[in-house]
Amino acid sequence: MPANPISRARLFGSIATVVTTLTAIIMASLSVGPSGLIWAGVIATVALGYALWSFILHVRHPKAADAAWDEQNTIAHRDSLIFGFWAVLWVFIAFLGLSVTGHMDPAVAFYWLGPVLGAVPPAHYVVSVLRGRAE
């Protein structure tokens, strides 16, 4: 576990975002649990809670924030955003195909692009941490 409070918050915030989004996708695809709108609220609460927590830590620990965003972590973060871009592009194409062929409601496809856009970069970042390429 990272000793740096910013890195620790980033790791746990990323894990929380990914786990919540995956849970929402699995539950929704199985038609179990609350509606998609409630899941959207849950995902947003987790993501905004992480953002607020991270902001407070950045203000309270500016030196730790500099170390947490050093060049290696910045590169890992940039790679996560690039991966997220391509993931969303491919998911968009897949959803477009499903919508055009009548296998998916366009409104549902549009709705689920949001969680993918939000959860893929943190998922990639968590993998980078697990591979020892970031903190």
Partner: protein
Amino acid sequence: MTTKLIVHLRAHRTQAKLTQAELADLVGVSRKTINTIENGVFTPSTTLALTLADQLGCSVHDLFALPQ
């Protein structure tokens, strides 16, 4: 070009009696970054290489070398 660097950072750090965390604190990076540089996983920027050399009282050529 993807030439793997030969890294002598660990030797110079231990010679200076510093832990990875202490050196990381001195140069303003995370401990993981020092760890990955020492293991040859991450190649630092010129700025960070110069800062590391400065903190350890040696030259960048003492810390990093190209394979012969």
